[in-house]
């Protein structure tokens, strides 16, 4: 999921300066899982904004994700009156969500309540760990299911670097060296040959922004 954190409240109040009537946006997807835009956090935000003299007119809470155009449309359909009355929107979800709201409801400004961080796992609540940098050309089948591009701070493809000692990373001694993990796993799988050969210079063009995917009916699984 997309991992994100709420911005400092001071920064949120600064963005909302001069706007009185606010509508809050959240969803039951990443935003709720990251404890920034679930119903509970929308309630907390309402309380907080009220204590600073704002009027929260209500919420738009999308089941699924705000990023899902259809789900979003359904969620706002019966709230147009409230949305028109608002001075601004505060989006307690990722940067995609704030842009979806901006595009769908351009009459008012939508502000980001979060800092969107990375694509990660959540082994338990409140714990998020980056696992994938969306490189556009996945190599996990060759690296024993461990991503070198993301979990090695240098993104090395012919790792490990000379700073790898005792299984730990040179950048942070608390952190495992991703290449040690890859080595151990491939060794256990009997597939060390995968990293014995040189990995050639990589084509990074699949990471060039902005990216898009437009699947047509017949290109799927064909």
């Amino acid at each position: 999921m997309i991992a994100m954190e709420l911005k400092p409240i001071k920064e949120i109040l600064q963005m909302l300066e001069g706007y009185e009537k606010i509508v809050l946006f959240g969803d039951s997807g990443c935003a709720q899982m990251c404890d920034v835009g679930g119903i509970l956090q929308l309630e907390d935000m309402e309380e907080l904004l009220s204590s600073h003299g704002k009027i929260v007119l209500g919420y738009v809470f999308v089941e699924g994700g705000i990023c899902d155009g259809n789900a979003f449309k359904l969620s706002v359909a019966n709230k147009m009156h409230m949305l028109e009355e608002a001075d601004a929107y505060l989006v307690q979800a990722c940067g995609v969500a704030t842009q979806v709201v901006t595009e769908a409801l351009p009459a008012k400004e939508a502000f980001p309540a979060t800092n969107t961080q990375f694509l990660g796992s959540m082994p338990e609540r409140f714990m998020h760990y980056e696992k994938c940098s969306m490189c556009g050309d996945c190599v996990l089948h060759l690296t024993g299911g461990i991503c070198p591009i993301t979990r090695c701070p240098k993104g090395l493809l012919n790792g490990p670097c000379g700073g790898a000692m005792n299984g730990k990373c040179e950048v942070n001694p608390e952190q495992d060296c991703a290449w040690q993990l890859i080595y151990d796993r491939l060794k256990a799988l009997g597939k060390l040959d995968n990293i014995r050969k040189i990995w050639d210079l990589r084509d990074w063009s699949p990471t060039h922004k902005p990216r898009k995917i437009e699947v047509t009916g017949d290109s799927m699984m064909s």
Binding site: K154, N158, G159, G163
Partner: protein, 309 residues
Amino acid sequence: MLTLTRLQELLERGEFVVTAEVGPPHGSDSRMVITKTDLMKEHCDAINITDNVRGIPTMDSSVCSHLVIQAGAEPVMHISARDRNRIQLESALYGAHALGVRNLLFVTGDHSLLGTHPEAKLVYDFDSIQALQIARHLMSGTDLSGQKLEGIPEFYLGSTFNPYADPIELQIWRVEKKRDSGARFFQTQAIYEISRFEEFMDGVRPLGVHVLAGVIPLKGPKMARFMNRRIPGIAIPEEMISRLERAGSGLTGDARRKAMKDEGVEIALETIEAVRSINGVNGIHIMAVGWEEVVPELVERAGLLPRPR
């Protein structure tokens, strides 16, 4: 076979080679490079110019390498993969060759989080192995897009290895990968504990590459502890640190500092002696950044003078 540089010639001729490092200035003072080069050019066969170590900005390594040539010595220009993409690397290599630089040494580069500019955006378009491949590719006459070059650069390529890095098997494979990408000579991370280096060399020897063992003379226990903590890949044994401490015990001020430095020089001399007897070690590389004055003394007392002509 025709050799491109003196360093290459000496290594291929079987001489025991001495190189030493000059840290480029944190600013625009070109005289610093020349003064430091002058200080040690009679005591070593080539002078290494580092490339923004730990992401701390210093004068461009190709410019400094050029200054080394002007001062009458042969440079080994370091290139760190960290801060460059392939467009910039190709461009830098054309320029380096035009300035007369022929020895190149590729490193991945310590992460810049460890330096003074942790806010910088990281590049890491390639690693040191892929950087070697790019250099070798240019030497074949075209750029990465296949376009013919207006002037084909030629280089003697090198890289580094750290015998203390893990896992050892994979680290030795990386030396092999570097060799297969064109590296002919290797410099090691600073050697202190000998047995692990010997074990590593058992894996490197069959690869048929030239190895210069890294030597960093220690000024005292504080420096040793700092290096263990802050410099990636350094492993100074605790006994060695207490030896430095003992050398200074009972003394104060300058006398204490001098006694500890002298002990550091002793340790470095013992290390040089030990690595010289390891089969497959073809020279030493002294990294005394900030303490360049010690280089002539070390080389002389190690019995490595005069340098071959």
